[in-house]
């Protein structure tokens, strides 16, 4: 198909220059020309190749959701708001040390630590925050290093670029903690494996994170730097609605910003994203609104389920049933993201036949679209 012969030029004209780039890092460090630097994808020199992996793996270029879903789960793209699931429940770490540092229930940290110690993986690509709060991809080799990556700062981070840096002959089994767009990029890589760089079959575990939007590491960072001493920051948090706040915990106390003020630094591309719960991950983890100190966990694949099983057996996490009203709330939020995104896409293209980067079955489009939205 035509899309297969596109390269960096189209990546720029179709994605980066149109504000669709998610800064996932899929196009970066896979070749000597494209790199990520301070919130931008930078082209260091012109490349003459007409076909590029940079375009191929971008989560904002051609994606047939049914094909991707078939590849991961063996079924077409789910009509379910939160994708294909095995189990949905709440969980939290039993490790006091992790819980203390963790954003919510510490489940991501606990599961990845466990995956490392139990040999599911040999190393994990995570996001580490520097002293001055710049998020940077990091290859954690042990539980100790996983712990260093705990917590979120809500900024986009080119995690997939770190994956692109792993030498092809490196046989370490990899785990990745990824945002939905990054999960999509890695899934695309698995579908058409890179020819000469990363051995994508090394990626054994994808822990997907819930995401409603990610903040620009450039704009948001500058906003923060203007307002406070970033080295004093201990934690960022978006408390559940209806607080409508963005809280920054510093060594000298808590600072709150209105969510509207913060959201202007969200990447424009997040408005076009259909996926809140990392639907193609092995396990998805996010905050559990209304259940403070816990995470919502969704297992989707066998390896995901297996890891949770071991975690439970080893008492690394404790789990509980997700109350049905909370599940309904989660699904509503996920569906809202899909609807909004689809409407934004159609607003941009002016047609349901052209959904920018995504291809959905007419059935799914119909379900997501409420016709009054289009008519508006």
């Amino acid at each position: 198909m035509a899309e297969r012969t596109k390269g960096y030029k189209e990546l720029f004209t179709e994605v980066i220059e149109t504000g669709l780039c998610a800064l996932c890092g899929a196009c970066a460090d896979g070749c000597p020309y494209l790199v990520y630097y301070k919130g931008r994808i930078v082209l260091l020199d012109n490349c003459t190749l007409s076909k590029g992996q940079c375009y191929e793996y971008c989560p904002r270029t051609y994606i047939d959701m049914d094909a991707i879903s078939q590849q991961v789960f063996g079924v077409p793209y789910s009509e379910d708001e939160i994708g294909v699931t095995k189990e949905v429940f709440v969980a939290r770490s039993t490790d006091a040390h992790i819980k203390e540092k963790a954003q919510y229930g510490g489940v991501v940290t606990t599961l990845l630590s466990l995956a490392l110690t139990e040999g599911f993986i040999d190393s994990a690509i995570l996001t580490k925050t520097s002293v001055d709060k710049v998020p940077t991809p990091f290859l954690a080799q042990n539980a100790e290093e996983v712990l260093q990556c705990t917590g979120s700062n809500y900024m986009a981070c080119p995690v997939v670029a770190r994956l692109n840096q792993v030498p092809r002959n490196d046989s370490n089994k990899l785990g990745v903690a990824a945002m939905p767009c990054q999960v999509l990029a890695i899934t695309k890589m698995k579908k058409v494996p890179p020819e000469n760089r990363v051995n994508i079959s090394n990626v054994k575990l994808i822990v997907g994170l819930f995401c409603t939007w990610a903040l620009s590491p450039d704009g948001f960072y500058q906003f923060l730097a203007k307002n406070l001493d970033l080295s004093q920051v201990e934690k960022f948090d978006v408390p559940p609605p209806p607080t409508n706040r963005f809280d920054v915990y510093t060594t000298s106390g808590k600072l709150s910003f209105s969510l509207e003020e913060i959201r202007q630094y969200a990447l424009p591309t997040c408005a076009y994203c259909l996926d809140m719960t990392s639907e193609f991950a092995d396990i998805s983890v996010g905050s559990a609104e209304g259940v403070a100190g816990w995470n919502i966990v969704i297992t989707r694949t066998d390896i995901g389920a297996e890891l949770v099983k071991v975690a439970k057996a080893k008492k690394k996490i404790e789990t509980d049933r997700l109350p049905s009203e909370n599940l309904a709330h989660l699904k509503e939020a996920a569906l809202l993201k899909k609807k909004r995104a689809l409407n934004e896409i159609i607003k941009r293209t002016g047609s349901t036949d052209n959904l920018l980067y995504v291809r959905l079955s007419p059935r799914v489009i119909e379900r997501l679209l409420e016709y009054k939205w289009i008519k508006r």
Binding site: G30, C31, P32, Y33, V35, Y37, K38, R40, V42, L43, L44, D45, C47, T48, L49, G52, Q53, P167, E195, N196, R197
Partner: protein, 646 residues
């Protein structure tokens, strides 16, 4: 080939024009020579410095051309014959002093200025003709037509300078300066030099000796009198002569290397009996009587000279002053379009002009033969682009600059000037240079760009400057940038010498022109003392160099300095003999076109030591050319280029 100080009067020696000039100076008994290196002039001081100790003279590489002439004038003021040499651009640098020293007059000893022009700018930023400065500032000017004259004129100019009491100038061009010919030698005076600044004026011995241009009106009229005396001398000069028939169909008036081209052209056309050549050696002031006498030879006059129509216009002016009854010849040359007013000339061009004027047809060679000869020649010559040498630190520097500017993302730009690094205009420096003018201009231009913030300008500005150029003309620009808080980064490309012109030492090298160790004028200490933030980088370390540049650009504020320190590879390889690394491509790791790197090494990085093996479809190191710097190992994304310590 003989050294310029060979004591063999009467013998003929094969000298390049620059050596002939240096020999002329030795025969004139100079005691002092100063120059700033610049092609095609560098061998004048170079050859004098090489024999300076033996010959009991002093020779120096001055920090710039202005200081060179000023220093030489100092020697002249104290009774020592002195010479200063430079390329055409240097004349601009020293022009302010020249405009004043012509008024003040020279000392008891002669003062001679050599300007080597570079028609076609073969090794220059421009091809300006320096002769007009002689007319502009009232300087007696000669131009040698061959190598013998180069020597003889130089020697004679010292006598003339002393007789007139003014600085005299010799203008040479690349084909005289760098071509080689027989020169019949005179004797070497071998005199003891005694320098003394006479405090009392000669005339009454009551007023102090002063060298200054004031009172200017009086001094100016004195200068005109000196020029009149010079004209009288020039009327009788053996450097001016006519060859040809008594009545000619065409008179060529020529000078310099065009004298040789004109002779060749007339000979090739077999027009010796129809075309006469008036060869002038003394160009300004024009020996009008002498010239007028020969203008009668023909109604048609073709002026052949490089580069501007200097003689052509001077002769036209002269004719305007002749009585109305005088013949009014038709002029051919640059104004008529028969010859170019740009670039070098050659015998073919002169032939074409003559044939055109005389309506004769001439085919210099069989066209088919010419085509074949050209094709045959080309088959032996590998295609080469202007590039940095293998192992050149500049390539690494510009790689880091290119990446840093791209990463910075604010569309930063590089201003630059004259040196090997000027090649960053092209692929060798990844097309990074945006401005290139005279010595130090990049730093000056950066001063302006760096102050445009109030007009919305936020592009980072990087000014590159060579180490020698920094001492020559960069320091005032840096001071200005610090004083006026101009936002730019001055990048000094310190490769440890004046590389482009032949590794002449400069104030940062700790070595003099005469090979004596001396104090190092530390550029970092100097810059820091001015209050600039100074960072030292090894350009071969891409990562930290790029990071330093990024950080300096991000910091903003007034002018700051990054010194890229890496010895010129040509110098290192001469000293160390063996390369630092054995570099090779691991054929298993280099996967060629399949890599996705799109031949970064040979397509973008383009070190001449890297070649693309078309047959194997992989990169390869050219072992003959590779200097083993190992930099390309950091360029290959596959780690396929291996460097091993030797």
């Amino acid at each position: 080939m003989a050294s310029i100080d060979i004591d063999a009067p009467g013998t003929s020696q094969l000298f390049i024009g620059n050596e002939a000039i240096a020999r002329g100076a030795l025969e004139a008994g100079i005691g002092f020579a100063a120059a700033y290196p610049g092609t095609p002039s560098s061998e004048i001081l170079g050859s004098l410095a090489a024999v300076a100790k033996k010959s009991g003279i002093y020779a120096e590489w001055s920090v710039n051309e202005k200081v060179a002439v000023e220093a030489a004038a100092g020697a002249s003021f104290a009774g020592i014959r002195a010479l200063a040499a430079m390329k055409q651009n240097g004349i601009n640098v020293v022009s302010d002093f020249l405009a004043n020293v012509v008024m003040s007059g020279t000392g008891k000893a002669g003062l001679v200025l050599i300007s080597c022009d570079d028609p076609s700018a073969i090794s220059s930023s421009n091809e300006q003709d320096t002769r007009p400065i002689a007319k502009w500032l009232d300087i007696p000017l000669v131009e040698p037509g061959d190598f013998q004259e180069a020597k003889d004129m130089t020697k004679w100019l010292f006598d003339l300078s002393e007789e007139l009491g003014t600085l005299c100038m010799l203008r040479s061009v690349t084909r005289i300066a760098h071509a080689r010919g027989n020169v019949k030698l005179g004797g070497l005076p071998r005199k003891e030099h005694k320098a003394y600044f006479e405090q009392l004026h000669d005339l009454k011995r009551v007023t102090p000796t002063t060298f200054m241009p004031v009172p200017s009106s009086i001094r100016h009229s004195f200068l005109h009198m000196k020029m009149d005396r010079a004209r009288e001398k020039f009327e009788l000069s053996p450097f001016n002569r006519y060859v040809g028939p008594d009545k000619a169909g065409l008179l060529i008036v020529t000078c310099g290397s065009c004298w040789l081209y004109s002779q060749d052209a007339v000979k090739a056309l077999k027009l010796d009996d129809k075309v006469g050549i008036l060869k002038l050696g003394t160009l300004w002031p024009l020996p009008e009587k002498f010239v007028a006498e020969y203008l009668n030879k023909s109604q048609n006059i073709l002026v052949v000279e490089e580069i501007d129509p200097f003689l052509e216009r001077s002769i036209m002016e002269m004719i305007a002053n002749l009585p109305p009854s005088s013949p009014h010849p038709t002029f051919y040359g640059k104004r008529s379009g028969h010859l170019n007013a740009y670039g070098e000339l050659n015998p073919d061009m002169v032939i074409k002009a003559i044939a055109n004027i005389l309506h004769i047809s001439y085919q210099s060679r069989d066209i088919e033969y010419g085509r074949k000869a050209e094709a045959a020649t080309k088959s032996y010559v590998p295609g080469r682009t202007l590039t940095f040498c293998p192992g050149c630190p500049h390539r690494a520097t510009f790689w880091a600059i290119k990446n840093a500017l791209k990463l910075d993302g604010r569309n930063g730009l590089v201003t630059g000037d004259i040196g090997c690094y000027s090649m960053a205009l092209g692929p060798a420096g990844f097309f990074q240079l945006r401005t290139m003018h005279c010595m130090g201009a990049g730093s000056g231009v950066a001063n302006g760009l760096g102050k445009l913030g109030q007009f919305g300008f936020n592009q980072p500005v990087l000014a590159v400057i060579g180490d020698s150029t920094f001492y020559h003309a960069g320091i005032p620009a840096l001071i200005n940038g610090i004083y006026n808080q101009s936002n730019f980064v001055l990048i000094i490309l310190d490769n440890g010498g004046t590389a482009m012109t032949g590794f002449q030492p400069h104030p940062g090298t700790g070595m003099t022109a005469m090979g004596e160790p001396t104090k190092v004028v530390s550029m970092e200490a100097l810059c820091r003392s001015l209050g600039a933030r100074v960072e030292l980088c090894d350009p071969f370390d891409f990562k930290s160099t790029t990071a330093t540049l990024l950080e300096m650009m991000a910091e903003g504020g007034g002018a700051k300095v990054v010194i890229m320190r890496r010895e010129c590879e040509l110098v290192r390889s001469r000293k160390e003999k063996k390369p630092p690394y054995k570099v090779y491509v691991d054929p298993d790791k280099c996967i060629g076109e399949a890599c996705g790197c799109d031949r970064l090494c040979t397509r973008v990085f383009q070190c001449p030591g890297l070649i693309w093996d078309k047959k194997a479809g992989k990169a390869k190191i050219d072992d003959v050319i590779c200097t083993g710097c190992g930099v390309c190992a950091d360029v290959c994304p596959q780690g396929a280029i291996i460097k091993e310590k030797t």
